[in-house]
């Protein structure tokens, strides 16, 4: 399992548009991807759960990637949080 921390660099946090992009990104891989903020952890396949996690701009979240293609998935997610999120 790969685990990494990210600071959310978008004023509105992970709102609907980036959440949609993130879910679709995760769907491309076989690995199970979860997102943790504080005490709560959700699986990254549900828009509802991502929004209710309430990750705001500036919050730190942990991404957990577990599965056969975890290295590739983690790299794509890394790019999402460090680059794409700023433009979404």
């Amino acid at each position: 399992m790969i685990s990494r921390n990210y600071v959310i660099m978008a004023a509105e946090g992970i709102h609907a548009r980036p959440a949609t992009a993130l879910i679709r990104l995760v769907k491309k891989y076989k690995s199970i991807v979860s997102l943790r903020k504080g005490e709560s952890t959700i699986q990254l396949n549900s828009m509802l759960n991502i929004l209710t996690l309430g990750a705001k701009g500036g919050d730190t979240v942990t991404v957990l990637v577990d599965g056969a293609d975890e290295a590739e998935a983690a790299a794509a997610i890394d790019n999402f949080f460090t680059e794409e999120l700023k433009t979404l």
């Binding site: 660099m9 978008a10 004023a11 509105e12 946090g13 709102h15 609907a16 548009r17 959440a19 949609t20 879910i23 396949n45 549900s46 828009m47 509802l48 759960n49 929004l51 209710t52 309430g54 705001k56 701009g57 500036g58 700023k86």
Partner: protein, 577 residues
């Protein structure tokens, strides 16, 4: 309410959602609500059928949204809304919740969907974040779509006659996309607030809208003549001739103004002979930053922090302040934001802090004087600003500095805040620029020395003017003496700009004079290149800049500085328009 003689000239008050005036014919949109039946499923085969029905309804709903998406001419925002709806429709959590109602509680499929959507909408409505609260409308929308496909009821009517004013409970996000918007000229809704879906939609389409009108809206029927005044938040039903003419004239003025302002939006603020001017916004919270960006401000030249301290029962904690600054920094997307430390005083009382009773609060215990006296409050604010600095490009500015000693003391406390954060291993922008307001005459006179110890000046003309001329703007008897075109004030401003240039530090002007088109060329002639003002004033100032050569500004400035009284100056400036 009875129709007929009562239903004329009625005025309904709502919430301002999108500015402008629309005059047209009403079309009342009635929603067909699905109701729970309470019928339970009898056996396993009914359970399986219910699950199958749900899956088919979801599939049909996804297909509908996909076909909406294939329409031509959708904006990026509209495509985003529809993509989001597809994700909600296929959300594994919603599906699991519906399945549980069906299999565990044996509810029929319609009741299950109503139940799950209702609970989810409620959950979103109760969230502590505006953005997430607004998502309740999206959940309701996809829920209604699934129900519609379960009940096989038709779509809402989607075409309207030209000049339609749409009245509804609320406009759902996908309805808004499905409707022929070219024929809708205004909205009025029973529910919703400034950040509701209808408000956002109306703004993005430049359609006047009033939301949150309540049941008062029910007196209006399809075909009634309606005026929607999105600027004042009023809906008028069947106006009389006089009212109608009055509003037609207002609408014309409103439209002309809007056209003028939007034509300037994307034009850079450069004089015909190539001198670029930086136009910044004065803001008081993160939401103001949105307006600033809409008007293409290059950043925020003055971020007032007083709002954070008002309407509460205790001083905001460091973390609360951090949230406030951080959100603004992130919204600015790298554009500079100048944060001014608190500028409170006896004229703006706080519930939790007692100011000494003073005869002259403007000459008393206020702004930096409080900060230097109550260093615990000051250092908390500085730490919060420093911590927020990693989320954007922030600058720190001290208000009401009147001497070198005060500046040095404030900077020393800032260094202490930095040292604390470094010791605690907390990140911040170590090269954060530090500046000061020039609003006390003694600071203006000492600008040559002060300029050596800061990264920038910001001239606050309102206070500078009232302190220089010894005039209280609030006093009716002497108010007329308050005059920023008084040569004494102009000389001080000119001197400050000159000294800033000598020391090669930044200088901007953030008082009301920055938004006065009559002053723009004089200030440019003095060498000012940065103006900070309310976001809405930016187009008018830009209009002056793009139509006047810099050489003209220099000439006007020279002439003005040679004049000995403000009447001559103002008369002269009026001839130079």
């Amino acid at each position: 309410m009875e129709k007929g003689p009562y239903n004329t000239g009625g005025e309904i008050r709502g919430v301002v959602a999108s500015p402008g005036i629309a005059i047209g014919r009403a079309h009342v949109l009635r929603k067909r609500d699905a109701v729970s039946t309470g019928i339970l499923l009898k056996d396993e085969s009914e359970v399986l059928r219910a699950i199958e029905k749900f899956e088919l309804a979801v599939q049909a709903s996804v297909e509908e949204v996909k076909s909406l998406k294939r329409q031509r001419g959708l904006s990026n925002e509209e495509v985003d809304i529809l993509e989001t709806h597809i994700e909600f429709l296929t959300d594994p959590q919603i599906k699991a919740d519906v399945f549980r109602e069906i299999t565990k509680n044996k509810k029929n499929v319609i009741d299950s969907v109503i139940d799950v959507i209702h609970k989810t909408v409620d959950m979103f409505r109760n969230m502590d974040d505006d953005y997430l609260r607004t998502r309740a409308a999206d959940i309701q929308d996809i829920g209604d779509r699934i129900l519609k496909n379960l009940l096989h009821t038709g779509n809402n009517e989607q075409t309207f006659p030209p000049n339609t004013i749409l009245l509804a409970e609320d406009i759902s996000p996908s309805d808004a996309i499905a409707f022929d918007m070219s024929r809708i000229i205004g909205f009025a809704t029973r529910v919703g607030g400034k950040t509701s879906h209808t408000a956002i939609l109306a703004k993005s389409k430049n359609i006047p809208a009033v939301v949150g009108c309540g049941t008062a809206l029910d007196i209006i029927e399809t075909e009634d003549v309606v005026i929607v005044d999105g600027t004042t938040g009023i809906v008028i039903v069947n106006p009389d001739e006089i009212r109608l003419e009055e509003y037609k004239a207002r609408k014309e003025a409103c439209d002309a103004e809007h056209k003028f302002l939007s034509s300037l939006k994307d034009i850079p603020a450069i004089t015909p002979d190539g001198v670029a001017i930086t136009l910044l916004a004065n803001i008081a919270n993160a939401d103001d930053m949105d307006d600033a960006l809409t008007y293409r401000a290059a950043g925020a030249g003055l971020f007032r922090t007083e709002l954070l301290f008002m309407n509460r029962t205790a001083f905001p904690t460091e973390d609360e302040q951090l949230e406030f600054y951080k959100k603004t920094a992130l919204k600015a997307k790298g554009k500079p934001v100048t944060v001014r430390t608190i500028d409170i005083g006896g004229d703006k009382p706080l519930d939790y802090f007692t100011f000494p009773k003073e005869d002259n609060p403007f000459l008393g215990y206020r702004a930096i004087r409080i900060s230097l006296d109550r260093q615990d409050i000051f250092i908390t604010q500085l730490r919060a600003i420093l911590r927020a600095s990693v989320f954007g490009t922030l600058k720190i500015m001290f208000p009401m500095i009147s001497s070198l000693q005060e500046l040095r003391q404030a900077k020393e406390i800032l260094e202490r805040a930095k040292a604390q954060l470094s010791d605690e291993g907390i990140e911040f922008d170590k090269t954060i620029p530090v500046g000061m307001m020039i609003e006390v005459p003694s600071a203006a006179v000492m600008a040559d020395l002060l300029a050596k110890e800061v990264d920038f000046f910001s001239i606050g003309t309102n206070d500078l003017c009232q302190y220089t001329l010894a005039v209280d703007r609030g006093n009716e008897k002497v108010k007329a003496l308050y005059d920023p075109f008084n040569p004494a004030v102009l000389r001080l401003i000119g001197y400050v700009i000159e000294q800033a240039h000598k020391q090669k530090i930044g200088v901007s002007l953030c008082g009301e004079l920055a938004s006065d088109p009559q002053a723009t060329l004089v200030l440019m002639g003095m060498g000012l290149r940065e103006f900070s003002m309310s976001a809405a004033s930016i187009p008018a100032i830009k209009n002056v800049i793009i139509h006047n050569a810099f050489s003209k500004a220099t000439e006007i400035c020279e002439n003005v500085m040679a004049m000995d009284n403000s009447k001559t100056i103002i008369d002269y400036l009026q001839t130079q328009k």
